[in-house]
Symmetry: C2
Subunit: 266 residues, 2 copies
DNA sequence: CCTTCGAGG
DNA sequence: CCTCCAAGG
């Protein structure tokens, strides 16, 4: 009955000076997926290494310094680690890492941020296509191996109107484009479950990201773009799902908040 | 009987968030020379503009964004302003500005930092040669016009052994090279007086700059490289000369400290 | 160890 | 409005 948490840290070095370490010390998660670590292994702060000394750290940095980077912290040792989504053009971009734990496969994902009408959006769309194929394959393989699977991370897509405070103003913006929402809907109709939404249907939010600009955080003008997707059998065991929104602008240590899901026994 | 202060702020924007504004509010100086302002006029923080609302600001930024920059704050309005040291190769580098106040000419200087044996040292040496000529001319002109003159700023040269804590270890380092010390000695033998040293002969320091690295500030392992030079007649009226060293590492707002000199009536 | 810039978000 | 890089100090 693992608890899985996911958070985009917006730079593990900066976050480590602002509260990530205290959060790690307090969390009861068995697995933590991190995104935007933006550091090579050798550049991880000593405080982060100390705070995660009791965990197994699987880090997939980008080849480009200071960019992207995903990781999985797990209390249990991984029995296998795989990186990338099987598309050569995204190799070395530090956007996906997958670990097999004894009874669970967990992937940490940092999906590209797009910008409608620009090459960045084309890149995001290419990633979406490749990722859909990859996740279908990995899900099938995991289930065949007797493992359930979780894909957690920053999808940079809000699935529905309830997932953005100002959805009307964002109809033409990347992260809420119709084809992006359709992509998530298709994924969730093919054996994956958006656990937070399944546990909290019919409510606005909970948001997971707030721009640093303006008063977005204080006004809770956020987006729900960080998701924990689980294979349906596992999702059915979800007992608890929360977004750990910081109490104030001053106490948060990233522009994203952790998403934490607890699964009960089979 | 003006009081003249000089300080390298290491970025007026950063310094304004750390204590420069409080220092400006408290200073009794009539003229403040600033160096390394590193900001265009349009980028000056609103707090700095508010804190200097009672002053006249003469700013000489560098053409290159975020680099160098000198300024003079004066309680009296300048009657004339001149920039540069009359050498075309240093035009637009934001290293020298000179204002005529009713009874005093004041220059704010940021001399290039060198690095022994590199092209940077050659540039510094060229600047030294051009500056010597320029200062001789300006001094003569000021005196002819019935003004005394002050040249204040970051000279990036410690004049003598008493001006560096670890002088033996710096005999081959830029800022303490024999020909740099000779340049200052020549200047001070040609009508200019190093006011702080004149008021405090025979003591070590007071230092005006401490590296941010290591424990240099806590150990007072500094350099005296910020100077107030005055024409001899004015220097003879010096009543007080201090380096306003911050009480602790945490309270300082620049790697340099203000040098403040008070002159009595003629 | 600081401050800028510029890229990226 | 952040985090990072690189250059400059």
């Amino acid at each position: 009955m693992p608890t899985v948490s996911s958070v985009n840290v917006n730079g593990v070095r900066a976050a480590s000076t602002k509260g990530l370490l205290e959060w790690l010390a307090a969390t009861e998660a068995d697995v933590v997926c991190l995104q935007e670590t933006r550091a090579l292994p050798v550049d991880l702060p000593s405080g982060f290494l100390a705070a995660t000394a009791g965990w197994h750290l699987t880090l997939e940095p980008a080849a480009a310094k200071g960019r992207n980077g995903v990781a999985v912290l797990s209390r249990e040792a991984p029995v296998a680690v795989r990186t990338g989504i099987g598309a050569a053009e995204f190799a070395g971009t530090g956007r996906y890492v997958e670990v097999d734990l004894p009874e669970l496969t967990v992937a940490s994902l940092y999906l590209p941020k797009g910008s409608a009408g620009t090459p960045k959006q084309e890149e995001k769309d290419l990633f979406l296509a490749a990722l859909a194929t990859h996740l279908a394959e990995r899900r099938e393989k995991a289930l065949a191996d007797g493992r359930e699977m979780v894909v957690a991370g920053d999808f940079n897509i809000a699935p529905a109107e309830a997932d953005i405070r100002n959805w009307k103003g964002n109809l033409a913006h990347s992260g809420f484009l119709p084809h992006e929402r359709a992509w998530i809907a298709t994924l969730c109709a093919s054996g994956w479950t958006d656990v937070v939404r399944a546990v909290h249907p019919g409510v606005d939010g909970p948001y997971t990201w707030w721009s640093y600009r303006g008063r977005a955080f204080d006004n809770d003008a956020g987006w729900r773009i960080d998701h924990v997707l689980a294979t349906s059998g596992l999702a059915a065991r979800a007992e608890h799902a929360v977004v750990e929104r910081a109490p104030s602008y001053d106490t948060r240590w990233s522009d994203h908040a952790p998403v934490t899901v607890r699964f009960g026994p089979p």
